[in-house]
């Protein structure tokens, strides 16, 4: 009789433990099962960023596109691209109008409060794009007194410039580049990698352009893939895939999409722009 009593108590205890364990597991599973990666994934990107994303003549190409297609291939989804301005990127993710943002998106602590980042997949300092025949900027100290154009709401727009520098803000980089070619500004100030895309795009135009080598202001930007908060399972899956991408595909894609970058820094471009795969755990919102 006593033995039966003990057995019943033991069974009850085991059931309680199993119930608690099951409820704990279901919480984790629920978070991991929640996904933004169904068969079609809506990816927000700036449609007019040569070298990274460029939709011209119904043909899309660029480094950010390459990453999107690589993620799609590895994680079994079809990317569906939608245009986004720099200023709207967080809102798109917070409202879940887009599942993912891959758009030269710098990882910052402020943005990390609103969305999750996986990255970096590229790092770049901030540099100056000038007309090819212009030699008014050779060192950092030459910036003072120049008229610059930068994109509103981006990290370069927050950089403190030397005295007497005139800053013009435009809604996108292309507008700044047009102003530069028209001669209304001396230089476009933005992420250096991004500027190399414009060098390539406009190399056959009437006013070709160049990036001033070894002159930079501001901080090193690290680009990450933005996703809405609350998808830890997807965050880890994207992180693992990006890690593989950095090792396998990164160099060949940069060579194909940003040849001007290689010409400016032959032999040194990987040191300057390629993140260490270990950095993914340091800068991402998740670890894997």
């Amino acid at each position: 009789m006593a033995q039966t009593h003990t057995t019943r108590a033991g069974l009850a205890l085991a059931a309680a433990v199993a119930l608690v364990a099951a409820s704990g597991c279901s919480g984790d599973d629920k978070d991991d099962a929640k996904t933004i990666l169904p068969k079609t994934v809506h990816i927000a990107t700036a449609f007019d960023q040569p070298g990274f994303n460029l939709f011209a003549h119904h043909h899309n190409r660029g480094f950010d596109m390459d990453i999107a297609f690589y993620l799609g291939e590895e994680l079994h989804f079809t990317p569906k691209f939608q245009d986004v301005t720099h200023a709207e990127r967080e809102r798109e993710l917070q409202e879940e109008s887009a599942d993912m943002v891959i758009s030269t998106y710098s990882i910052t602590p402020e943005r990390k409060k609103k969305i999750d980042f996986v990255g970096p997949y590229l790092m770049t300092s901030q540099g100056f794009l000038v007309r090819k025949d212009y030699d008014g900027i050779k060192k950092e100290k030459d910036i003072g007194g120049k008229t610059l154009c930068t994109v509103e709401g981006t990290t370069p727009s927050r950089v403190k410039m030397p005295r007497h520098t005139v800053m013009n803000e435009a809604p996108d980089t292309s507008t700044c580049v047009s102003k530069l070619q028209q001669g209304s500004v001396d230089a476009v100030f933005s992420d250096e990698a991004l500027l190399h895309g414009y060098v390539e795009q406009r190399k056959n135009s009437k006013v070709p352009l160049k990036v001033v080598p070894n002159v930079s202001m501001g901080l090193i930007n690290r680009y990450g893939v933005g996703i809405p908060k609350g998808y830890p399972g997807d965050c880890r899956r994207i992180l693992n895939t990006l890690r593989k991408y950095l090792v396998k595909e990164w160099s060949s894609d940069i060579k194909a999409q940003l040849p001007s970058l290689l010409e400016t820094y032959p032999g040194d471009w990987e040191n300057r722009f390629k993140p260490d795969p270990k950095d993914l755990n340091t800068y991402s919102s998740c670890r894997a």
């Binding site: 710098s106 990882i107 910052t108 602590p109 402020e110 990290t155 927050r158 202001m217 901080l219």
Partner: protein
Amino acid sequence: MRAATYVRRHLADNTKLLALTFLANLIVIFGTGTVWYAEGGDITLVGGVVGALLLLGGAMLPLIRGRGQDGVEKPLWPPLMLLVVPVAVLAVALPAWIVTEVRAARPVDLTHEFELEPSGPFEQGMTVTASAHTDRPKPRLFITFAASEYDPATPVCVPSSRLSVTLRSGAKRDSAQSVRPGQELTFDLGRNHKDISLAVRMTAEPNCALDLTVDSARVDD
């Protein structure tokens, strides 16, 4: 039986016991005063309290003698009267001393004592002085600095930053230690160093600016 008679006879003559208990008063009062002073007590306060207790003890003597002589009042038992002073002193001083010893064995938290000079954004290549004072010096300092982005809207700087920290006071000066923000540092201060001063230098990516704070600091054995 003989012993009881011996004690009773000696108690009847108060003079010897009066002298002995007064001596006990002096030993306890002076002894406690010395320990108190050695533990860092203020000399004026220690002197004042010892003096007051001695006066109190001395005032007992005429009181005891006066009550016994006129025959109206019962003479006070002098040892009891005089023992009140040392017993009271010991009752207060002993627990206080035990508490002091227990506290002395524990680490001293200096987290909120450290001041950083200059304040404001901590930039690449800049050196900040972190200093603190403690009245309870101990031979080792354990300190952790925390860093956060000065402008959270700019790209991330903290993961790539390192701090080089040098002790400016104490036994082993100029022994720089390099760590990431958030990692604990240990310094040998030597004995009786009440003022601690550290030089903190930041190395980070170009144009980085951080907010530096002391996350935790304690001195211990």
